[in-house]
């Protein structure tokens, strides 16, 4: 059974029918938003059952769309929090990937801007490494990008998608060793992205992110994970009810190969490790439970089958 990420949009009336259906089919709901009279579910469902969900939700005016970024956490790396980079383009891009189902976090560097003076500290590096992918938003000059990129990527282990002002070919030429993805002609600009060509550019960024994530998923599929991260999400919610009191928009954030649990590490790490999956297997046996560099959260990294010899 292959699970595919989709978004369900429909009316609030009888939406629990759809929720039950997805759970009965063996799918997982990653995020649920209720906005006025509308419900948006971001979920993983079995590929062969999408048509069934469409049929059953038709009388409820529900629609199911593909959203390849569901279940991913993306770091939007902005060079600073100054007016030069915010709210455009950093927020525009962060918001756009969120629409497609991703959980995006804006990581703003303390000393990102400039050419010679640009730098990356250990906290920033570790925070970026906790994500599935990092989207670097650079400036308009190839000289500066070429000069500062080696500093800014030092120690980064996750795939990087680089956005910058010069053309894509120029970016590919000046970055050595190459990064995973490039989007040209998106440097610093000072106005909202609302024209058709600007939106097309945002779509291009999404395509590039999707392509890179798809590659990462393929890599993982070669040595499958011991347990599906979205499954852990449901189990943690059942067994650690304190998570329901967390006011953060996504108390449990699903990643491609892990999970961020927004509870204090010192108090809850042991309980997270002891979460029972099935047949006496606990979460601690199939995943690493580590302190996150983001606040005092817990980060769960699911181990591959080759390391645990367990698949649940």
């Amino acid at each position: 059974m292959t699970l595919v990420p989709v978004t369900y949009k429909g009316g609030i009336f009888q939406h629990d029918i759809v929720v039950d259906l997805i759970e009965d089919l063996g799918g997982y709901i990653v995020q649920k938003h209720i906005i006025a009279q509308e419900v948006v579910l971001q979920c993983f469902v079995p590929r062969e059952d999408i048509e069934l969900i469409r049929q059953i939700s038709r009388p409820l005016f529900g629609e199911v769309t593909d959203s390849p970024l569901v279940g991913t956490e993306i770091a939007i790396v902005s060079m600073s929090l100054e007016i030069h980079h915010l709210p455009h383009p950093s927020c525009d891009i962060a918001e756009y990937v969120r629409r497609l189902g991703a959980k995006s976090n804006m990581v703003s560097l303390a000393r990102g801007p400039g050419k010679r003076i640009a730098g990356l500290n250990d906290e920033e590096r570790d925070v970026i490494n906790e994500h599935d992918i990092a989207v670097y938003l650079m400036g308009n000059f190839e000289t500066c990008i070429e000069y500062k990129m080696p500093t800014l990527r030092r120690g980064i282990e996750v795939p990087i998608v680089l956005c910058g002002g010069p053309d894509k070919e120029v970016l590919e030429r000046i970055i050595d060793p190459p990064v995973e993805g490039y989007v040209g002609n998106v440097g610093r600009f000072m106005r909202r992205t609302k024209e058709a060509d600007e939106l097309a550019k945002l779509d291009e960024i999404i395509d590039e992110i999707t392509r890179v994530l798809e590659k990462k998923r393929e890599e993982i599929a070669k040595d499958p994970l011991s347990v599906y991260p979205a499954r852990l999400m449901g189990l943690i919610r059942e067994q650690i009810p304190e998570i329901l009191d967390v006011t953060s928009p996504t108390p449990l954030t699903v990643q491609i190969a892990g999970l961020r649990v927004k509870l204090p590490y010192d108090t809850f790490a042991e309980r997270v490790k002891k979460v029972a999956i099935e047949d006496g297997i606990t979460l601690g046996e199939v995943a690493e439970v580590l302190p996150s560099r983001m606040r005092d959260y817990v980060i769960v990294k699911v181990l591959p089958f080759s390391e645990t010899n367990i698949a649940v």
Partner: protein
């Protein structure tokens, strides 16, 4: 850009220059500065790195009077002012309080001010000067140019004399012969440096 007579961005990287022209246009438009700038030449060299903006301002001396944004209606010993734009409301009230005393000035709501038995004719009230937008012009212009300049360029030198301005920024210590560069850019616009 119809209001600006001369507007150029010079940069060794053609594409980067184009983006900066767009940025400069957007920022000046957002800050309502296009109508006060006569000429503007921006030079950026990311290799040095240095950012130079030189330009000329238009002469503006439009002082704002009460009559420009308020209707004065005299009626039996009191005068009712109906305000259409709140920008200068605070400074107007301050002037009224100083001149007439607080007990004679009343503001029942945001857009109404009532003056009771003040020793002035409606014409005199209308002619009271409450603000001069050109006072904050240099401050606004420096802020706008800081937004346009690349962010890492934090070592700055600004010269504002009457109608001419120079703004130089870099992330390294500014070269001693930076005045020569500035003078050269003024000559490109057909002007003499301040």
């Amino acid at each position: 850009m119809q209001a600006v007579e001369y507007f150029e961005v010079e940069c060794p990287e053609a594409l980067g220059g184009e983006y900066y022209k767009q940025i400069a246009n957007d920022v000046l438009l957002d800050h309502n500065l296009l109508k006060v700038i006569d000429k503007l030449h921006i030079f950026i060299d990311p290799k040095v790195p240095v950012f130079v903006a030189v330009g000329l301002l238009k002469k503006i001396s439009t002082r704002v009077r009460v009559g420009d944004f308020a209707n004065v209606n005299p009626l039996e010993g009191k005068m009712t002012l109906v305000i259409s734009d709140e920008t200068y409301l605070a400074s107007m009230l301050k002037i009224f309080w100083e001149r007439f005393g607080k007990e004679k000035v009343e503001q029942p709501d945001r857009f109404t001010v009532i003056l009771y038995n003040v020793p002035a004719t409606p014409k005199e009230i209308e002619d009271i000067v409450v603000g001069d937008p050109s006072e904050s012009l240099h401050k606004d212009l420096i802020y706008a140019l800081r937004c346009i300049a690349p962010e890492g360029f934090r070592l700055r030198s600004e010269i504002f004399t009457g109608t001419k301005f120079t703004f130089v920024a870099s992330e390294n210590t500014l070269a001693e012969d930076i005045d020569t560069l500035v003078a050269e850019k003024f000559r490109l616009m057909g002007e003499v440096p301040p």
